[in-house]
């Protein structure tokens, strides 16, 4: 299939897109928590795949390579979005305001979810990646290790630490 795409077969590339787009979209959702952004990233990822397929090193599997492209694209997207920190700050302020409501046990469903999303966004990079790939994509530890280029044991540790960090952060908010 890869050779056909390199030879210019767009039908084969479309097949590849259809095959991997759910995985790319889910991973992007896990990292960005926004449907529109995740769709935009999915499109960008496949354009990058199309442009750089000739440089694909076949020592890794195609899916592993696509996951890496997805992660890098998401991280670059988040870097670019740094300008939107003001908005994050505002949402944090809103979070503080909503704490009063939380004290009154009036936490709405949306607020809860936003708090979890925020807690996930605040996880250290590697923990977040390991957590998203394991929980959103349900990938085996072996593949997560391959994607992140670390050992399987390290992946397990990262996921445990991510879960604990999330609990700590959310305990503070939920009270």
């Amino acid at each position: 299939m890869i050779q056909n795409i390199l030879d210019g077969s767009q039908a084969d590339f479309e097949q590849l897109v259809k095959m991997y787009q759910p995985n790319v979209f889910r991973t992007a959702m896990g990292l960005l928590h926004n449907k529109e952004d995740a769709e935009e990233i999915t499109q960008d990822v496949f354009l990058k795949v199309y442009d750089s397929l000739s440089s694909f090193n076949q020592r890794a599997t195609l899916s592993t390579w696509i996951y890496r492209v997805t992660i890098n694209t998401c991280l670059n997207f988040l870097k670019k979005k740094k300008g939107n920190r003001l908005l994050v700050g505002l949402s944090a302020l809103l979070g503080l305001a909503s704490k009063e409501k939380q004290c009154e046990k009036l936490v709405t469903d949306k607020e809860e979810k936003d708090s979890i999303r925020k807690a996930m966004q605040e996880l250290p990079g590697k923990q977040r990646l390991a957590f998203v790939l394991t929980k959103y994509e349900e990938l085996p530890q072996r593949q997560v290790a391959e994607i992140m280029q670390i050992s399987e044991g390290a992946v397990e540790q990262l996921v445990i630490r991510a879960r604990n960090n999330l609990r700590k952060k959310l305990e503070k908010i939920v009270g």
């Binding site: 979810k113 609990r167 939920v174």
Partner: protein, 102 residues
């Protein structure tokens, strides 16, 4: 403990919800359209330069091909002689040859 369970459930519920988020069914079509557009833009970018180069190369090739084919031609120099003779005067040859013998 109950709170721990509750937080874990909240996290899992959010993950489940985001995992099940449906993407635009035309996403693949959008991707393919973007790929084709990019391909077209690439070709468009490359074309003008290539056109000039190809036309110049074509003219050069045609010029040198013409010269080389032209110099392949050699006019044959024949040593055969042709004699145009008048039939009416043919008998004179015998006459002259007889005179020679005499």
């Amino acid at each position: 403990m109950k709170q721990k369970m509750n937080i874990d459930e909240m996290i899992d519920e959010l993950i489940k919800e985001e995992r099940n988020e449906e993407f635009n069914p035309f996403l693949a079509t959008r991707v393919m359209a973007a790929v084709q557009e990019r391909q077209y833009q690439k070709e468009k970018k490359i074309n003008p330069a290539w056109k000039t180069v190809m036309v110049a190369a074509g003219i050069t090739v045609a010029f040198f091909l013409g010269i080389s084919i032209g110099s392949l031609y050699e006019s044959e120099s024949r040593n055969d002689g042709i004699m145009l003779s008048n039939d009416g005067a043919m008998e004179n040859f015998g006459f002259y040859s007889q005179i020679g013998e005499e």
